[in-house]
Symmetry: C2
Subunit: 108 residues, 2 copies
């Protein structure tokens, strides 16, 4: 991951509405949640929500799929893992240390 890519990914999370949306989708799990339901759950008006989901899609932290009249959005764990790896890269200058941050390889 490059610096610019990481900034785009981080920016997609560094905003209250979007972080709320992201965490709602993490909770919702791999099947995701329809846009209308996200709006209802978070209290974010549809047009604002759509704006933010577009940003998040562009950054790659969410995926979407259409199902009948609904569009389901879900968290993209693969991109999140890449971001975490980038942020901890060269951490401790290579010295091994104890912390382990498990994340969802299965849903990646």
């Amino acid at each position: 991951m490059e610096n610019k890519t990481a900034v785009i990914t981080l920016s997609a999370l560094a905003q209250e509405s979007r972080l709320t949306i992201y965490r709602t989708l993490v909770q919702a799990g791999p099947d995701g949640m329809a846009a209308g339901k996200i709006s209802e759950t978070t209290g974010i008006p549809p047009s604002s929500l759509s704006f933010h989901l577009k940003e998040m899609s562009y950054a790659g932290i969410v995926n979407s799929r259409q199902e009948s009249r609904y569009i389901y959005y879900s968290a993209n764990f693969k991109v999140m893992n890449e971001l975490l790896a980038f942020l901890t890269e060269n951490c401790c200058a290579g010295v091994p240390c104890g912390v382990e941050t498990p994340c969802c390889e299965e849903n990646a």
Copy 2:
């Protein structure tokens, strides 16, 4: 960590100059780097650098200490670990998975 705190932490990283500064400090290691040297290394003018370091300090992702006429800034690994934990919280709805993201507990 709360949603608002996480947004502040993420915002402190979600900007090209600041991510560059942060990664420079991660490379520099626990002893950190003097402000002037950071400016020189990254090409960010002193006044801009000062502005960004202030943001980063407020968010807690960097620490600083004065040494003679120099102020040394260093990455705060503890806060970064807390952020990573927050981002991966409830990941996979509790299902254990294989990815491990080691980070610097020793420098926390």
